[in-house]
């Protein structure tokens, strides 16, 4: 079981007022809409396959790169919501609950949550104290991937502080053999999200969890000097000339999943990639992870040695239509079994207490879950907690322009603070 006590404090802020209720559909073929594509879509299909086998209820999974805008449109103007959706953004869940688009799951789901999840994780599924979602996946975002053989050949060592990391990046850039960083931020209408993760990780370290939480909730503006400083730090560490493989044009044009490729190229195009645990799905088949493996990881270090905050994200399942079939699938997803097959494949961390550490297939995943327990602070992805129009829309667009160098930080901050002010007036 993963210790999530610190996370609970952060997540408590996620829960806001909401209302529920939706019509029942009664149709037998269920549609689940989500962000997983390719291999991850296969894994999700495997997760629900035992449900179909046992109940005879077919489940169609549809995963879109434009998941947020597609889901908003389906739940809103198109009035064509799926039966269920896997949503990585608590901010979007909150908005959909407020709109009355999300159905309250059956009482059996609440019982299953209590039985199979630690109390800290159940918070992920609540809006204003009421259960609306089944937490499905935890993602650990503060990982820096590197190839031990490449580091050893050059005498490089994983850094213990953020300042050491900056010195290491400078050393790699000066050597001129490869760029310090791999980075790709292209993802359809979600283009820009890896850049928000970078800023969040750095802000969490340089300004501390309190400022970070204020920035996520809107009390600390983008205009704040500490936020501006975090953006500047990310620029200096990752985006300055010579720091990212292929230069800024490549960063903007490269898809998030392809960003991993130069790390494994021969000769390597970059030395490090900061990306979540889910990046293993994009690595070459058969990649081994560990100190003696093809690739290893360290947590993005804190400002001082030994204090390492960890940024996490989480995907939760919500229900749009009440029907016996959809209720049964929600119950199954909240049950002890759902997720085990994905855990066994790797690249997936379950928030369930019924899936113990020894269910994970590798030392890497067992270490990862224990690192979560040791983290000095666990913070939930701030942009995912913001109202979707901001955190899953404007911020992605603006940060892409900022990364591309076509917009300065002052303009970005002004636009985002103005949008947040409008959103606050509208009662979001």
């Amino acid at each position: 079981m993963i210790r999530l006590a610190s996370l609970a404090v952060v997540l408590a802020a996620v829960a806001v007022a909401g209302c529920g209720g939706s019509s029942s559909s009664g149709e037998r073929a269920l549609e689940v809409f989500g962000p997983y594509r390719g291999v991850e879509a296969d894994r999700f299909a495997e997760v629900v396959e035992p449900f179909t086998r046992r109940t005879g209820i077919p489940v169609r999974y549809v995963g879109s790169v434009d998941f947020v805008s597609d889901l908003q449109r389906r739940a809103g103007e198109d009035n064509d919501p799926p039966d269920l959706a896997v949503v990585p953004q608590p901010g979007l869940i909150r908005e959909l609950v407020r709109d009355g688009s999300v159905a309250r799951p059956s009482a059996a789901v609440a019982s299953a949550l209590a039985a199979n999840y630690p109390p800290e994780a159940v918070v992920l599924g609540r809006v204003d104290g009421e259960v609306y979602a089944v937490p499905f996946r935890l993602t650990v975002k503060s990982l820096v991937w590197y190839r031990p053989s490449v580091f050893a050949a050059h005498g490089w060592k994983p850094p213990r502080t953020l300042a050491e990391l900056d010195r290491l990046a400078a050393r790699i850039a000066d050597a001129g053999e490869m760029a310090p960083w791999c980075l790709g931020i292209s993802a359809g209408s979600a283009t820009g999200w890896p850049a928000t993760d970078w800023v969040e990780d750095v802000l969490l370290r340089t300004a501390g969890p309190r400022v970070y939480a204020g920035w996520a909730s809107g009390t600390v503006p983008f205009d704040d000097a500490r936020v501006a400083s975090a953006f500047a730090d990310v620029h200096d560490l990752v985006l300055a000339p010579g720091r990212a493989a292929g230069g800024i044009a490549s960063v903007v044009a490269t898809s998030v999943s392809s960003a991993v490729e130069p790390l494994f190229a021969d000769p390597p195009g970059c030395a490090m990639l900061k990306q979540g645990d889910f990046a293993t799905a994009w690595m070459p088949d058969g990649t081994t992870i560990g100190p003696d493996g093809d690739v290893d990881w360290f947590l993005l270090p804190g400002t001082a040695a030994g204090t390492t905050p960890v940024l996490v994200g989480g995907d939760s399942v919500i229900q749009f239509r009440r029907s016996p079939e959809a209720d049964a699938l929600m119950r199954y997803l909240a049950g002890p079994e759902a997720g085990r097959s994905w855990v066994a494949h790797g690249g997936f961390v379950s928030p369930k207490k019924t899936i113990p550490p020894d269910a994970y297939p590798s030392d890497y995943l067992r270490e990862l879950t224990s690192a979560l327990g040791r983290a000095s602070t666990l913070a939930f992805d701030a942009s995912d907690r913001m109202p979707p129009a901001i955190g899953s829309g404007l911020l992605w667009r603006e940060i892409t322009r900022w990364v591309a160098g076509v917009e300065d930080y002052e303009t970005l901050a002004r636009r985002l603070d103005a949008a947040r002010a409008l959103s606050a007036q509208a009662g979001d």
Binding site: F33, Y36, R37, G38, A41, D42, F44, A45, R60, Y61, V62, G63, S64, V65, D66, D70, R73, G188
Partner: protein, 348 residues
Amino acid sequence: MTHGADSPETPAGSIVRRIRVALSAPPTEDAVAAIEELLPEGDEFLPYFRRFMMLIVLSAGIAAFGLLADSAGVVIGAMLVAPLMTPITAAAAATVMARNVRLARSVGVITAGMLGAIAVGYLTALIARTQVTVATDLPGEVVARTFPGLLDLGIAVTAGAAAGYILPRRSTLSALPGVGIAVALVPPLATVGITLEVGLGREAANAFLLFLTNLAAIVFAASVMLIASGFRPSATGRGSLTRRLAITLLAVVVVAIPLTLHTRAVIRQTTLVRSVSSSVVAWDGSVRVVELDARVDGSRAVVELLVSGPDEPQPAWKLASEIERRWHGPVDLTLLYQRDSRFEVSVR
């Protein structure tokens, strides 16, 4: 009116008797001579073999250049020059008549012709300095010979039967070139040579499978037709006819197995392309497909589409769902709209 001691013949019995009489009627002397001339013996063999190999080299050369130039007309010309049909039909006749020496000789001629045609295809591709490195760059005429299917087996069986019918009947010989066009023998062999030269082993194996299909089917079907024309084994070899036919039939069955798998793959691929096309129309009638690349990868459809249209398109997830519904399998869709908007959807 009185009846004899024999019981009256039923209509079915009458038909069976007539067929039996027709089948047991020996072939005419002219028919036997025509079959004998297919593969000269004695002193006439070497001049025949030289002519045969010359025609193999010429027809394979024409076929190889026609294939590389992607010209169907030239490839058909090569089929008319190709001399392989005669030793193959001779092999069928030797099988039926249980003449083992003649069978071995015709197999030898076929093997020499086969190797010669492959070598000419290889050399032609070498001389033409073909720059092809991936299968998708091959000319259409070459690609068409690297996807043999069950239809090819059907063509070869009927064409082989036609050859078995025509060759013992000199009055019908004018129809023989049609058989040569219907069931190509040299172009697949030239394709084997070309694809080997550019290093595409899998395509070469498929083209060779097409040749083997045609060879086995012609021998089997021509044998059956020759039996129907009254050809029989000599008295000493009579007992082995069934076994010989069984062996040729077994050869047909053996090639039919990979052909069935190929055909299923081709049908799945064709169905996918059709499903994608009809899904696009159902999805958004206002868009135009600029490029469509759909392939089956295991059980999954990998579809890449470039479309253009007057307005914002419908959401890509709807198109992927539509394709999945029509194709009945998992879909990974990459949709490019007007070249600047990229959407990716997976449906399982």
